[in-house]
Amino acid sequence: MITFRLNGTEQSLDVDPSMPLLWAIRENLGLTGTKFGCGQAQCGACTVHLNGAAIRSCVTPVAAAQGSEVTTIEGLAASEGELHPLQQAWIDEQAPQCGYCQSGQIMSAAALLATNPNPDDAAIDAAMSGNICRCGMYQRIRKSIKRAAGSEAVVGVFDPQAATEEVKHV
């Protein structure tokens, strides 16, 4: 039995521990916002947060999530009915075309902003280089990240490590 928190809710799964987290999320837990693109960590469509860090769920065994916090696109916003500043920026810039890669793009961008609230172009390139957009909306994705970067709410993205460090500082 593998137990982890998915978007704040504890989940227990009786699955092959070597099964990629992607399929556990999509098939066993029914959240389909996280996408299958290549199965080889080459395209980023499957990006989710594992304890606040962006990971490729298509090559991450579900066992690696044991006892951890997993966040998907469905759980990115602070509360239901709200949008994360990046999601709003994506709408404002009309960034998606087909939209298939965008869950992964937004999750990579959210992990970036959580640790670097005002990234420059080089930081955006580095953080986003693993996320392919075949519709080629890179220019709009970059603008969306910069638009959201000005917002205060982006640093509120869950990051247990950062949270722990903050506590230590206190």
């Binding site: 389909t32 395209c43 709408i91 087909c98 939209g99 392919i132 080629g136 220019q139």
Partner: protein, 760 residues
């Protein structure tokens, strides 16, 4: 049964047999736009409308026409016969309808048309398809042939050919919106007993100023539906547009940032199993034998299905199925193509081109002037051979489909550019009546032409039938890369004749592999003697429409070779284009705009290059200027300045997005895109060996729009063809290397060379 109804029933019956469209059915379906053949459904009253009404109308709705419905609460719904793959067509078509209708945008939504014959948009009228493009006389037979093909393929509901706006929008949505408005006016005039000429419309209301009366479309809908819709309503002039030409947020975007958007791969059915597949690696091979004993014993595996040219493993999870299929030992039949390679294919192309030359067996696209004497008297003749490789589409969402087969009926859930075609193909494959196949359309995670093929839907349907359970079939990335319908590999040979003053006397071009659009190899330049011709050289690699189709290769060939001509003429490539566009002010203006915005007259700097291209495709003109830096052999594309003239930009931001997208798609192909054939099969299998442009490689793209007022053109494809030649021309300036073969990654650009011969 009335005569009218009987006629329509007959037409309807004739539609149901694949490819059997009669003239009567054709006209019956396309009488909307005054000779236009595109509309797909008639606005005439009668049973056809009622038939469709059942499919799209809920209780309390009144169906005004086949393209729009309005409910009692005033909610207006456009019925859009095109699929959404991110091009924004559904929003922009709705915008066109709402504008002509004078509808309140806040009350307007859309549904995708059901996959019914009534919504077939296959018979694309020649005028719309070509959108006023100048077609040389010699090409007309080919164009007519293509139209004949289109008419034969009527049972399709295709999103492609950059046609949504220029065909469905112009001939269907605008007309339907205007007709609906007209009917509202008639209804109000009847109710109030006032002349129609005293009525105006605005924000979903009919207004009679003289008596200060106002009625909403919702109130008038029932009365309006009793009137005959006009099939030639008055359309607005551009200065009367309230929504067209404005940037309205796309309807599909919010769900795409929250994970809620449902793509084909997201379909979920109760009791669903998952299938993984391995298809014959050599195109045309069959399953000879297979040993799945160990596979069947694996926990979770429920079925192994032999599809004839593929094996599928069905299991309780996709991971289980995909892992299990790797253990199936499959033997494939041998084929005559088992030894075919990219190398042998190139040799075949060159031999076939040479043969066509020697035997004079080519077919003409363009024959103008006296080419022979131009070459005989020329002061200078230049020659070059250009080549492009096969290309895969590499959609982000791998091919997939979900199917359920119960009681002799089949349901399919997928994202397709051709939902009606999918129904027909599944019905044919499973030997079912069309009525027994239901297609549930989803968003597409990329299409680019690939999803006009319905191979995965047929496979899923067959697996569901054979196993008796609902099955979601997902192709691995390797299957997706190796079983595409490919942009063909093509070779094209050029000769140009110049006089001693650098005047271009003749343009001679022979290539192979002709598909569509017929005019793709035609040049816009005023060269008196031209011979553009082609021959056959077919391969066993399946052909598919790849964003911009034949323009994707000819755009590169003609516009890159043009720069060689300019160099031979000792002229600036921009200025020579300009000079030879004397009689084409629209082209020239756009080229000037791109050159001006890019600062063509400014020095570009050491190690850098600037290249230009002009391309007319799908009724839209695009001029591009590309700037590159080549540092120790590494090419970085810094900036693309693009000017586009679509006639009129219905959605300027949507057009801009399509230009950005088209450029990046074309740039991926130009820089890295290459599908190789070895031992009859595709070598590439992943993004690692079929790389595409990523964030750090993407140039800044500046788009400048010109609304010339010419016939409205397409948006989805025209941005793609011009990037490769502009890039090649820029690299030449930076390095001295002529890029005559794609992708650029084949070249070693570390050393400045002057005239490379065979590079690979």
């Amino acid at each position: 049964m009335s005569e009218q109804a009987q006629e329509n029933t007959m037409a309807s019956t004739k539609q149901s047999a694949l490819g059997k469209w009669t003239r009567r059915g054709f006209i019956s379906a396309g009488a909307l736009a005054g000779g236009g053949l595109i509309v797909g459904v008639a606005l005439r009253r009668g049973d056809r409308r009622d038939q469709v009404a059942e499919l799209v109308a809920e209780d309390g709705d009144t169906l005004l026409s086949m393209w729009v419905k309005i409910d009692e609460a005033g909610k207006i719904t456009a019925i859009v016969p095109h699929s959404e793959m991110g091009q924004g067509a559904q929003t922009v078509l709705t915008q066109m309808l709402a504008d002509e209708m004078d509808a309140n945008w806040a009350d307007v939504g859309f549904v995708e048309a059901p996959a019914e014959d009534e919504y077939a948009n296959g018979p694309l009228g020649k005028g719309y398809l070509l959108a006023g493009a100048e077609i040389p006389a010699a090409l007309m037979a080919t164009v007519d042939g293509a139209m004949h093909q289109a008419a034969k393929a009527l049972v399709q509901q295709i999103t492609g050919g950059s046609l949504s706006i220029r065909a469905t929008g112009v001939a269907g949505m605008r007309v339907a919106g205007a007709a609906a408005r007209d009917m509202m006016i008639k209804a109000a005039a009847g109710t109030w007993q006032v002349p129609e000429s005293e009525l105006t419309t605005s924000n979903s209301m009919v207004i009679h100023r003289a008596s200060n009366r106002v009625a909403s479309y919702a109130e008038l809908a029932s009365a309006a539906a009793k009137f005959e819709p006009s099939n030639k309503p008055t359309l607005k002039k551009p200065e009367q547009f309230t929504l067209m030409g404005k940037d309205l947020p796309r309807h599909d975007i919010p769900s795409k940032v929250t994970g809620e958007a449902m793509f084909g791969i997201d379909a979920q059915l109760p009791g669903m199993h998952y299938a993984a597949i391995r298809q014959a690696p050599v195109f045309g091979a069959k399953v000879k034998s297979f040993d799945a004993a160990d596979t069947k014993a694996q926990p979770g595996v429920t079925h192994v299905v032999d599809l004839g040219d593929a094996i599928a493993v069905v299991a309780t999870s996709y991971w289980t199925a995909e892992r299990a299929i790797r253990a199936v030992d499959i033997q494939w039949t041998t084929t005559e193509n088992d030894a075919v390679s990219s190398q042998s294919i190139r040799q075949q192309f060159r031999a076939d081109l040479a043969k066509a030359h020697t035997e004079g067996s080519s077919s003409p696209d363009v024959e103008a002037g006296d080419v022979s004497s131009a070459f005989a008297t020329a002061a200078q003749v230049i020659e070059a051979t250009y080549e492009v490789p096969f290309l895969a589409h590499a959609c982000m969402e791998p091919m997939n489909a979900t199917a359920r087969f119960t009681n002799g009926q089949c349901e399919v859930w997928t994202g397709t550019q051709n939902p009606l075609g999918a129904r027909h193909e599944v019905a044919a494959a499973l030997e079912l009546d069309l009525a027994d196949v239901v297609l549930h359309q989803h968003f597409m995670g990329g299409g680019f032409g690939r999803r006009s093929q319905n191979d995965a839907s047929i496979q899923a349907a067959r697996i569901a039938r054979d196993t008796g359970m609902p099955v979601k079939l997902i192709w691995s990335r390797a299957e997706d890369t190796q079983h595409d319908f490919y942009r063909p590999s093509v070779a094209s040979q050029f000769r140009a004749a110049l006089d001693s003053d650098g005047q271009v006397l003749a343009w001679d071009n022979i290539y192979h592999e002709k598909h569509e659009p017929a005019e793709a190899p035609v040049i816009p330049y005023n060269v008196a003697a031209q011979h553009i011709h082609y021959t056959e050289s077919s391969t066993h690699v399946p052909f598919g429409a790849w964003r911009s189709v034949d323009h994707s290769q000819h755009g590169f060939f003609t516009e890159a070779f043009f720069d060689e001509v300019a160099e031979a003429a000792d002229k600036d490539p921009y200025l020579l284009r300009r000079e030879l566009l004397m009689d084409k002010p629209r082209h020239r203006k756009l080229l000037d705009l791109a050159a001006e915005k890019a600062g063509w007259d400014q020095p570009v700097g050491e190690g850098r290059g600037r290249g230009i291209s002009l391309q007319e495709s799908f009724g839209t003109l695009v001029a591009q200027v590309v700037e590159v830096t080549v540092d120790q052999g590494d090419v970085s594309v810094d900036r693309v300045v693009l000017a586009v003239d679509p006639g009129f930009a219905v959605s300027p931001d949507g057009l801009t997005a399509q230009m950005e997208s088209g450029v990046i798609y074309g740039l991926s192909a130009a820089m890295y895109g290459e599908i190789n054939i070895e031992e009859g099969r595709v070598s590439q299998s992943a993004f690692a060996n079929y790389p595409v442009v990523r964030m750090q490689d993407a140039p800044t793209i500046e788009t400048h729009i010109v609304n010339s007022g010419e016939a409205w053109g397409g948006a989805g494809e025209p941005g793609t063809p011009g990037i490769a030649p502009a890039l090649a021309n820029a690299i030449y300036q930076a390095t001295g290397t002529r890029i005559r073969q794609l992708p650029v990654s084949r070249y070693d650009l570390n050393y400045r060379v002057n005239e490379p011969e065979e590079l690979i």
